[in-house]
Symmetry: C2
Subunit: 197 residues, 2 copies
DNA sequence: CGGTATCCGTAACAGATGTTACCGTAACGC
DNA sequence: GCGTTACGGTAACATCTGTTACGGATACCG
């Protein structure tokens, strides 16, 4: 880590180190020292950037949300139809390559940590609420004639399915290859009448 | 805890204590001392029953699977039709009351722990495989004319949806009440052509 | 009733963990 | 060039963790 202080960049680097430790070693080994080692610094820098360990985790959790939000918005912006946008956004929630698999592992780690940290679970709930609203908007766009209740129910069904599939695949990538997950997604979109074409 | 040794019963009581700590305090506070306190004994008994902490977690994980397998089989046995059996089994995977919510919290805790424990993840994969096979059998029974690929895909979609919904509800019960989850389940069964009647 | 084996609580141990205090050092203003 | 400031590494701390060793008590058996 460089000599001169770029606090935001350091905070981000430390948050990425949190993800890395979470993905490779799991929540139980997510210690300040492990994060410092992954970031290539010492615990001194970590504790100068963040008042305590929980604040570090919270920052990493929020940065994770921000990052995935940006990725999702890019996908949404480059889609050529509402249904394509819906599928693209759902697809990126699956665990279909190395990056998304470790993303899912990290997500599960944060969720498990949130059960022991009131502020972390508040962050989770806020993010989840935004995610739900986004999906409802996408489903509503893909099925303009549906009632709000129908939109909400199907949005929940789709988001829960994607999240569950990502968890399964994260824990057993060989049993849930990318093609299997995509077939599942397409079958669901087809069943709800949200498939393309 | 009684003076006389009933090893299986003690192992089971300790495993229940593991679930309790996992549900109420989270993975990070799942220490041998916390488990002993929840079981009303000391660390001495815990370490005499199990060679080490990881073995304790593995036993608790396996007992959890055994317990839920029994519950599911009872549901399946008392169902009056294949489609009713499918719905009942899926429904018990949701987080719709205090018991199933804490069950989901525990499940997520074990999953997060498994990422740092090779034997724990092997247990998870084995259990998940059995779960998948059960659901494929149930879906196949509910839709006898489907191809094996269709059965497998829809079984995955349904199981992933239930697992994801349970995770959402465990983290935010107020946002995902029982009625919402059941509506989602019924909408999915309807969409796949697996609804009753 | 005495000896023995088993059970389990107590207490200690080494190592790890979050956090704090301290100090060398590099950048920056005068 | 020099003093000041802040950055970050080092090392210490109290506490907690998994695990081990020991000892008292209790049940079992002859």
């Amino acid at each position: 880590m460089s000599r001169t202080a770029d606090r935001p960049a350091q905070g981000e680097a430390l948050s990425r180190a949190v993800w890395e430790v979470l993905a490779e070693q799991g929540l139980e080994r997510l210690t300040v020292r492990a994060v410092a080692a992954a970031a290539g610094c010492t615990t001194g820098l970590v504790m100068h950037r963040f008042p305590n360990r929980r604040a570090l985790l919270r920052h990493a959790r929020e940065l994770l949300h921000e990052t995935s939000r940006r990725r999702v918005e890019a996908l949404e912006a480059s889609a050529t139809s509402p249904r394509e946008a819906l599928r693209a956004v759902l697809r990126q929630g699956l665990a279909i390559d190395e990056e998304t698999i470790s993303g899912s592992v990290v997500w599960i780690g944060f969720l498990a940590a949130a059960f022991a940290d009131d502020e972390l679970i508040e962050i989770h709930r806020g993010n989840n609420r935004l995610w739900r609203e986004r999906l409802e908007r996408l489903v509503g766009g893909a099925a303009p004639n549906w009632s709000p209740e129908r939109v909400s129910t199907v949005a929940l069904a789709l988001s829960a399915m994607v999240e569950g599939a990502a968890a399964f695949a994260a824990a057993d990538p060989a049993a849930y290859p990318a093609a299997t997950q995509e077939r599942m997604l397409d079958a669901a979109l087809e069943a709800y009448g949200l498939a393309n074409g």
